[in-house]
Symmetry: C2
Subunit: 240 residues, 2 copies
Amino acid sequence: MSLPLHERIRSEMEAAILSGALRPGARLPTEQELMRDYGCARMTVSKALSALASAGLIERRKRAGSFVARPRVHSMMLDIPDLEQEVTERGQRYRFELLGRRTAPPDPADAEEVQLAGRGELLVIDGVHFADDMPLASERRLVSLWSVPEIALEDFAEISPGAWLLGHVPWTEAETRIAAVAADRTVAARLEIETGNACLFIERRTWRGDEGITLVRQHFVGSAYDLIARFGSARSMGGV
Amino acid sequence: MSLPLHERIRSEMEAAILSGALRPGARLPTEQELMRDYGCARMTVSKALSALASAGLIERRKRAGSFVARPRVHSMMLDIPDLEQEVTERGQRYRFELLGRRTAPPDPADAEEVQLAGRGELLVIDGVHFADDMPLASERRLVSLWSVPEIALEDFAEISPGAWLLGHVPWTEAETRIAAVAADRTVAARLEIETGNACLFIERRTWRGDEGITLVRQHFVGSAYDLIARFGSARSMGGV
DNA sequence: GCGGTAATTATGTCTATACATTATTGGCGA
DNA sequence: TCGCCAATAATGTATAGACATAATTACCGC
């Protein structure tokens, strides 16, 4: 056994919970009992239980003890792949084609644009992501030049705007909306599909503190793309 | 200051990272320096750094020190609402209409079905979710009678199969696939839309340990539904 | 120089102890 | 019986020290 004791305690408790031996709501042994069972100090047990608590598997209440939490379906981890990496991993060639790039004041009729722009203008970037020269996704991105002035110097010949932003701008919050829509004329032309075809539509807004950074709207060819969300395999929750 | 010292250290480091004062790759103070700065014991500092590490904000290397990790967009929390609750909250009336219900052996040609069935048969349930008598989603659900024999007694007059399973079967893992598809004839008829219209397609598989419990495929009317995923509000990461 | 080895330094784990916090339990008195 | 208060039992936070582990750095013999 090379793995640390607190990890062992953690994983054995976790196994008991996930196997159903400890049902939701059940009380698990107190720290005292566990330190007797494992012959270790309380800190060690506590570390194991803290990890389970922060992973959401148990709930700890003073005086009362620790209890198995009811797993909530309501939230899962959604993997949002980096397009370039995913395409490359499938053995295809990735390319981002820049279709347009202009700076403009926000549309005063669009509250989102106004809020994003802050006291400056917006950079509007249009482009298409390709996999092996087949269009995969069309993208329109608005970037706040107020928050990210240095992006004005970038021409995106070598790197997609998304990848550039990821590497250059620290962000703190993001929200992604996922829907299915019919391709309009513009999108259909860019993706080389027919108007009305089903597209996965992803709209993501990113903030740094209160400052909006970017708003991106992507249309994926419906037949070529899907997203995966997972809950469980508690192995993946703790760290790494 | 009522908040514990290790939380304070954690949040101050976090702020320094998120604000950009400590850029990705930068080395942050050693535990020794921090325990001098805050006048506390090493365990306290270590707890703060461990929390940051398990949240993925920093990376710790022996001998070398702790470094700010590059933020990864790759995973967000996806909210998966309970349909009945969401419809009701919008002030609409929710109804699940059962269209079919039969038991059958798994299709031997479909490896997923065979695996789900285990050594038993499958319960196949077809139905439509309505909001104010407008179709919202069509659903076909397969349930392993081997894992959940008691579902054979339920007639789903009062409760949808999804809600019943949530309340009765502890599960440990789930995987959700999200895509955009065109409605086929069957789906279009059920949803009262035209064949070929865009639908958000959600396929979710649920396990308890190695045992498959259920596989559900839902088609949502594209114009009536979307999903939201979030990352951030760093406050929400640690615990609570 | 070059390569192997030892010293150093930073994190990782663990113990033993102390006191704080808080919700429950039980008892005591009006 | 009801309500308040104190004892109790559990987790929460923190300290100080010991030893383990691993990677970098420095040194030394060749």
